[in-house]
Amino acid sequence: MTDIAVSTPARPAKREAESDLVRQRVRAAMWFLLPMLLALAVVAAWPLARSMYFSLTNASLTHLADAKFVWFNNYLHWTVLKSGRILWSGVLVDPAWWNAVWNTLRFAVLSVAIETVFGTIVALVLNAEFPGRGIVRAAVLIPWAIPTIVSAKMWGWMFNDQFGMINDLLMNMGIIHDKIAWTASADTAFFAIIIVDVWKTTPFMALLILAALQMIPRDIYEAAAIDGVHPVKTFFRVTLPLVRPALMVAVIFRLLDALRIFDLVYVLTPNSAQTKTMSVISRENLIDFDKFAYGSAESTLLFLIIAVLTIVYIWIGQVRFEGGRG
C-alpha cells in the first residue's frame, strides 16, 4: 500500500476520533482539489450541460440567445397531418443519423479488432531479443507520433487515384487493372479509413501489450520449454491468459476512444456517407448546416452512448479490482 494508512474505518458504527494529522491531510486535500475541480466544472461540466440544454431548444448559431424550449422535438417528434398521416421527425428517426451510428460501430469494432491482432504480433516481436530491437521499437513509435491530420494527408496522397503510389504499386504487381479512387469511392472509403486508423494506433496497442508481456517472468517460458510445450501452445495457454487483463483494459479503452473519432474521417474522406461517424455528422449539423439544436441532440446522444458504456466498464472494473488501490 502506498497510502499513509491513517484510517477512516469501513463501518460507520466504529467511527473513531480523527487525529490532527488526519484532519490536516484531508483538509489540505480538499483545497488541493478545488482549483482542478473548478476548472473542470467550467470547461467540461458547464458546456456539456449547455449542449444538452440546446438539444431541447430551437437554438440556431445566429440566434443563440433567443432559444426557446421545444423539449424532445429534436429527438423525436410527430405531427398528424390533415390527411391523417403521421409524420415523424427528429434524430431518432433520421436515417442519416442511424447510418452514422452504424458507421461508427462497425469502424470501432473492426479497427480495434485488427489493431489488437497486429499489436499483439508487433508486441511479440518486440518482446523477443534480437540485434536492432531498439531501432524497430523507435520505428514502431513513428506512426503514433505523427499528428492525425498529417497522417490523413500523407495517406491521402498515397491513396490518390491519379498520382498515388498505392494504385501505382498494385497495378505494377498486377493486382488491380484500373486505378481505384480509394477515398472517394463508396466501396473503398471505409477501408481506407480502417487502414489508416490501424496504421496509426497499432503502435499504441503494441506498446501496452508489450508492457504486459514484459511483466511475465521469464521462468515461466523456460519451464514450458523444459516441459516441451510447443511455442504456439505456450502462447495460447500461458502467455495470452496472463496478458488478458491488461489487454482487456487496452481494448475497451480503445473502443471507447474509437467511438468518438472525428479528425481522420473529416480530413481523409470528407462528405462520404460510408464513413460519416456520429461526431462528424453532429458537427456538420451544428456548424455547417446551422441546425444547431439538431446537432446538439446528436452530440448529446453520442455522449450518452459513450457515458453508458464508460459507466458499465468502470463499474465492472470496480467490482473486479475493488476500485483501484486504496
Binding site: 502506498t2 448559431l61 513509435l141 513513428i142 503514433w144 479503452f253 479528425d263
Partner: protein
C-alpha cells in the same frame, strides 16, 4: 546451424531440425523488416514527395530522385505557415503549463490522502477524458462567443483543458502513487505539512514524471483538430493541423500536394525527433496510464 553441402559430392543430409530453425529465423527477419517498412514508409514517402518540384510530383517513384526546396519555401511564402507554427507552439505550451499547475496538487490529494469518495472522483476524472469532444462543442461555442474569444488563441487554450487536465491528473496520480510511503512518513514526523511534502519532498523526485506527462500532453494538444477548426476563422489564430487541412493551391481545383507534404514533414520531423529522444519516458508514461488502467 548452416547446411553443409560439399560441391560435387552427395550433399550431407541436413537435419530437418536445422532447416526448420533457419526458416524460422529468416521468416522472423522478414517480419521485422515488413513491420519497419510499413511503419516508416508513409513518412518516408512524404519526405520524398516534398523534395520534388513542379510536375515531378505527378510521377511515382520510390527512391529519391530530386532535392528541391520549392515546396518548403512555398509553405512559408504562400501559406503563412510561420504564424500557424507559432500559434500551435503557444497554445500547446500554455495548455500544458496550465494543466500541470492545476494537476500537481490535485494528484497528491488523489494518490496519497485517503478521503471518502476518492475512488469515485478518480473514476469521474477518467470518465471526463473519455468525453466525445463534439458533445461540448455547442456549449463551448456559446461560452467563447460570449467572452469574445472567438478566433483567438485563448479560445483554444480554454477548450483544450477539457482533455488535457484529466489526462495530466490521471498520469501524475499514477506516478505519485508509486513514491515510497516511508519518505512521506519521515517528512510527517519531521513536521512537514502536505504543501511542503509536495514541493520539497515529492517534486524533486517527480520531475522526470512531469517531463513525460508534459510531453505527452503537449503532443495531444499539438494534434488537436476539432476545436481548432471550429473556433478559428482566419489564419491569425489557426493552428498547424487546421492550416494543413486547408492548404489551397493557385487555382480552385488544384490541391497543392507538394506544399502539403512539405508542411507535414516540417511539423512531423521535430515531433519524431522528440519522441525518439524521449522514447523510454514516453513508453513508461503511456503504459503507466494504460496498463494500470
Amino acid at each position: 546451424m548452416t547446411t553443409q553441402v560439399v560441391a560435387g559430392v552427395q550433399p550431407v543430409r541436413v537435419s530437418s531440425f536445422d532447416l526448420w530453425k533457419l526458416i524460422k529465423r529468416v521468416a522472423f527477419f522478414l517480419l521485422v523488416v515488413f513491420i519497419v517498412v510499413v511503419m516508416v514508409f508513409p513518412f518516408y514517402y512524404a519526405i520524398l514527395t516534398s523534395f520534388k518540384s513542379g510536375t515531378d510530383i505527378y510521377r511515382v517513384n520510390y527512391w529519391p530522385t530530386s532535392f528541391a526546396l520549392d515546396n518548403y519555401t512555398q509553405v512559408f511564402a504562400n501559406q503563412g505557415f510561420l504564424q500557424n507554427l507559432s500559434n500551435s507552439v503557444i497554445v500547446a505550451a500554455l495548455t500544458v503549463a496550465l494543466s500541470l499547475v492545476l494537476s500537481v496538487t490535485a494528484s497528491y490529494a488523489l494518490s496519497r490522502v485517503n478521503f471518502r469518495g476518492r475512488g469515485l472522483l478518480l473514476m469521474t476524472i477518467l470518465a471526463v477524458s473519455m468525453f466525445p469532444q463534439v458533445a461540448v462543442l455547442a456549449g463551448l461555442f456559446e461560452l467563447i462567443r460570449f467572452y469574445n474569444l472567438f478566433n483567438s488563441l485563448w479560445a483554444l487554450i480554454f477548450s483544450y483543458t477539457i482533455f488535457s487536465l484529466p489526462f495530466t491528473v490521471w498520469v501524475l496520480t499514477t506516478f505519485m502513487r508509486d513514491l515510497p510511503v516511508e519518505i512521506e512518513e519521515a517528512a510527517i514526523v519531521d513536521g512537514a505539512t502536505p504543501w511542503i511534502i509536495i514541493w520539497r519532498v515529492f517534486m524533486p523526485l517527480l520531475w522526470p514524471a512531469l517531463v513525460t506527462t508534459g510531453l505527452l500532453a503537449f503532443i495531444a494538444a499539438w494534434n488537436e483538430y476539432l476545436f481548432a477548426l471550429t473556433f478559428t476563422s482566419d489564419n491569425s489564430a489557426r493552428t498547424v493541423p487546421v492550416a494543413i487541412s486547408l492548404f489551397s493551391g493557385i487555382s480552385q481545383h488544384e490541391v497543392p500536394w507538394g506544399t502539403i507534404m512539405a508542411a507535414s514533414v516540417l511539423v512531423t520531423a521535430p515531433l519524431v525527433v522528440l519522441v525518439l529522444v524521449f522514447q523510454r519516458k514516453i513508453i513508461s508514461g503511456l503504459t503507466a496510464g494504460g496498463v494500470k488502467g
